[in-house]
């Protein structure tokens, strides 16, 4: 029997377990189509702001041992432009990532997507390198509750809060998102980090401090998924260093209902989605699982 690779994340359903993480390849509908065809269950857009943002000068992304450092600066064409671009989308499950600093901005942005085929909204409460948004919002649990509850009140699609590790205990941010009515949590974002070139003695990123992604952060992300799903009854999408089907299963055993893939595309390109699907399907056949949900949180037996 062919294993069923579909996943349910609370009210959200996708045909396959791995989705494109926010910030990666996320500005063109044609590229989304290509990624979906390559085996992704869904695609998350770049984080969209109310107005277009140019982002920081280069270097914005560099490879390092164990992954990547980035401070792209949330460059994006703005929610109205993006909404207009995806209006013709019928087939691809698109999760729209939103970033802002107050509830009104989020409400404005959600309104732009009326009439668009949006699978869910993912609220960026965790970008570590842009002031007044992202992690600075996530570090203010009261604001998180206000934003999530405002988005819930206007959005027709389910709402996901994406949390990261800032100065506030991230579990408090998760609680704040749950209090606001979040349908699911994505954990985690990149970790605040920097790299310095020894020859020139300069920080490599133009913004100096950025976010660390890739294999180096995977054990941290797995731990967070395990802790969130142990403490709260909310579906979690695991994100951070997933590059193989084994990585994906590790997150699922920690309690994730689905996973997101980002940096791995820099090494294995978008073939990574098909490889993850095939690897998980083979594993399920071998271990005689028929559904992914049967494997969620299995590591908690021990």
């Amino acid at each position: 029997m062919t294993p069923d690779l579909s996943v349910s994340i609370g009210p959200i359903k996708f045909g396959r377990p791995a989705m494109l993480a926010s910030g990666i390849l996320g500005i063109s509908l044609e590229v989304f189509n290509r990624i979906y065809r390559s085996g992704a269950g869904a695609v998350v857009s770049k984080s969209l702001s109310k107005e277009p943002w140019e982002g920081y000068p280069n270097p914005t992304i560099v490879g390092i041992k164990g992954g990547y450092l980035n401070a792209v600066g949330l460059s994006n064409p703005g929610a109205p432009y993006f909404a207009n671009m995806i209006k013709s989308n019928k087939d691809v499950p698109i999760i729209v990532s939103l970033v802002g600093s107050i509830e009104d901005e989020f409400e404005f942005m959600v309104q732009q997507f009326e009439g668009c085929n949006v699978a869910a909204y993912e609220l960026n409460l965790s970008c570590p390198h842009v002031e007044k948004v992202g992690l600075e919002v996530g570090d203010d649990p009261k604001l998180v509750t206000k934003i999530v509850s405002r988005v819930k009140s206007v959005a027709k699609a389910p709402v996901i809060g994406k949390v990261g590790l800032g100065t506030t205990n991230y579990l408090d941010t998760v609680k704040a998102a749950i209090d606001g009515g979040a349908d699911a949590i994505t954990a985690i974002n990149t970790l605040r980090a920097m790299g310095i070139d020894v020859e020139t003695q300069r920080p490599i990123l133009s913004h100096k401090i950025g976010g660390l992604s890739g294999p180096a952060i995977k054990p941290v992300a797995v731990r967070c998924v395990y802790e969130i799903t142990s403490k709260y009854d909310i579906p979690v999408i695991g994100c951070g260093g997933v590059s193989t089907w084994e990585d994906a299963l590790e997150f699922i055993f920690a309690g994730a209902s689905a996973i997101q893939v980002g940096s791995a595309i820099g090494d294995g390109w978008i073939d990574v989605f098909g490889n993850i699907n095939d690897g998980i399907a083979n594993y399920m056949k071998k271990k005689e699982y028929s559904k992914i949900s049967e494997m969620v949180g299995l590591a908690k037996r021990f």
Partner: protein, 270 residues
């Protein structure tokens, strides 16, 4: 096997060549970049300023790589202004390479778009009969003519220079000269790099004549490795799937020759 670096390596500028009043070539030692395939590029870090995608220029010395830059914006001017002894960071090489066909080929370059074509000329097959068409605004801005003749001295070749003001070589645009050439001569392939409007005309011309054509494209690039998405064009990533695309794909593109993306990702018309 080519070694691909994702972290900048620091290189000291060893030589600067003034090509024209606005174009310079800077030379570094880098045995990896010295031997890249024609068309590949590197991300070049100008510390404190920016990091730019640059096609890798040939040199006439083993183990050396070069970049040829025209001063235009803040970042390209900063690269242009660097002096011998100053440092840049390089990572790469990235991107695909030209598919060099047998027979009679023509290379059409506008301005610094000549850079990848010079490497193509160096990698050309012994059997190739090569025409290089060089386009520039005026006599002062003509460069690489002597270098091209030196590289190709052992092969059947011709170098045709055009200037828009007619101050040197043939007056007009390279596209006009190419149009005349393809009427009288049967070419096996056309390769081009330069302003996109110029390349668009060349691709249309080649496609209409059924000649194999490839163009090297430029788009807003941040990562260079296919993850940031800023260089997307239709469903391809110019850094990962290109920068070289063939005429069949380019003819099907909604964006080639029409639009490019701003830093924010918004599509703008040319």
């Amino acid at each position: 096997m080519q070694s691909v670096s994702k972290t900048p390596s620091i290189r000291t500028i060893e030589k600067v060549i003034d090509e024209t009043p606005t174009v310079r070539t800077i030379i570094i030692s880098d045995s990896n970049l010295a031997n890249v395939l024609p068309g590949q590029f590197a991300m070049v870090w100008i510390p404190g300023v920016n990091e730019l995608p640059m096609s890798i220029m040939i040199t006439e010395e083993n183990g050396k790589a070069a970049f040829t830059v025209r001063k235009r914006g803040v970042s390209s001017t900063a690269l242009y202004d660097l002096k011998v002894g100053q440092q840049i960071g390089v990572r790469g090489p990235y991107g695909n390479a030209f598919d060099i066909r047998d027979g009679k080929i023509v290379l059409v370059g506008g301005g610094t778009g000549l850079v990848p074509l010079m490497r193509l000329a160096k990698f050309a097959k012994p059997t190739n009969d090569i025409t290089i068409l060089m386009g520039s605004k005026s006599k002062d801005e003509v460069f690489f003519e002597n270098l091209a003749n030196r590289i190709l001295k052992d092969k059947k070749h011709q170098v045709i220079v055009t200037t828009e003001d007619g101050s040197y070589g043939e007056r007009g645009f390279v596209t006009d000269v190419l149009e005349r050439l393809v009427q009288n001569t049967k070419f096996d392939a056309i390769y081009t790099c330069g302003p996109e409007i110029m390349m668009h005309k060349i691709v249309q011309l080649a496609n209409s004549k059924g000649i194999f054509v490839q163009a090297s494209l430029e788009r807003m690039m941040k990562c260079g490795i296919g993850i940031c998405g800023s260089c997307c064009m239709d469903e391809v990533l110019v850094c990962h799937d290109g920068t070289i695309f063939d005429g069949k794909f380019l003819a099907s593109s909604q964006e080639f020759g029409h639009t490019h993306r701003a830093k924010s990702g918004i599509l703008e018309n040319y």
